[in-house]
Symmetry: none
């Protein structure tokens, strides 16, 4: 059996995840200055991966980055972040719609099997395994849409938002809810119901945005 690619994570990527988690947990408050030396020491790496992680996070809008003036934690209300999540929801929903219409029987079967195998992971609460399987799940939908351009867009957005998505599975009960939402998506796709697939996927993606919205509201309230 062919294994999915082993998901190589470079130090920069892990760092980006950790910094994002620190920001989302509120440890690094909005407006706080993030200087490279501090981050390097704190996470036990040199400044090079720190720099690259900061660039990556800046592209998602999580932090602001000005030349020669360093990085600060962006206001969680940053329009860019909201925009990214909104675009992601739209494009994933479009992929689900197309997938419902044009997936082959084999692709449908594969999606179903994958979804069922994820039930065990959700029950076990195995966050890492579930997160990995989740990536495959969504990739299935992309490829099932049979549109390389949309898949490319979706993949690009997913990469940009990866730190938030990984952090998200840390919240309690998220796995079970995610799996339940997937079930609705899968049912609609298997039933070839394009409208329902669109709606189900849109809902699923919107919940991530909700979590972030609550975070932003909380930090605004405390200010």
């Amino acid at each position: 059996m062919k294994r999915v690619e082993p998901e190589i994570l470079t130090r920069t990527e892990r760092l980006a995840d950790e910094i994002a988690a620190a920001v989302l947990s509120g440890e690094f408050a909005p407006g706080r200055r993030l200087d490279e030396a501090m981050l390097a020491e704190r996470f036990g790496v040199s400044r090079t991966p720190v720099r690259e992680a900061l660039r990556r996070l800046a592209s998602t809008g999580l932090i602001d980055l000005k030349p020669r003036r360093g990085a600060t934690v962006a206001d969680a209300t940053s329009a860019q972040l909201e925009t990214l999540f909104g675009a992601m929801a739209e494009i994933e929903a479009a992929c689900a719609r197309l997938a419902a219409m044009s997936m082959t029987p084999i692709e449908r079967r594969r999606l179903q099997n994958l979804h069922e195998s994820m039930a065990a992971l959700a029950r076990r609460g195995d966050r890492d395994e579930y997160a990995a399987a989740n990536v495959v799940f969504h990739a299935c939908v992309y490829s099932g849409a049979h549109n390389g351009i949309l898949a490319e867009f979706a993949g690009g957005l997913r990469r940009r938002l990866a730190p938030f998505r990984r952090a998200q599975f840390r919240t309690e009960g998220r796995l079970a809810r995610s799996h339940a939402e997937h079930a609705v998506v899968v049912a609609a796709i298997l039933a070839c119901d394009a409208v329902a697939a669109h709606a189900a996927m849109f809902d699923h993606m919107s919940l991530v945005e909700d979590a972030l919205g609550r975070l932003g509201a909380a930090s605004r309230a405390s200010a």
Copy 2:
């Protein structure tokens, strides 16, 4: 009076622009490997700004970047026309959906005025003027969606498809039909009917594809 910030450009940013220009001009063909040392020598800088420029370009989707395997120019131009048009239809439809929900009264008014002014152009059969106005019309919908990322995607697709779209308004009666289709889109957006706006725009874009499909079939038949 406060001046806008003087826009300091770091070496990395200038490099990203130059590399992007080389890719878009076709000098760096899709699929081509972009190794850091080559780029560094060619543009007369060290590898550090090259690396950061590549990270930045990867986040826009212009190049592919895999850990330990380097960068390649994203294979976008090899994608089939059908896929491009399909993606375009989906994204335009998504923009129309969002626009129906979130356009401001002023934006709605502007869209309506523009649409009405295009009626005269369609009646006169002024293809060039109509085509120009058509670009503005769709740009209105993008900006009305209030999502910069989707607008960016839509604009990029429109640019890529521009050569194919130019021919389309030559078809007899196409102007009148286009305007009639726009009318449905505008009505749905003004009525804040998200579902109808999505459907109307999707139809509109699909018909464009159809027209081109017939054109392609005709040229193939004559070959």
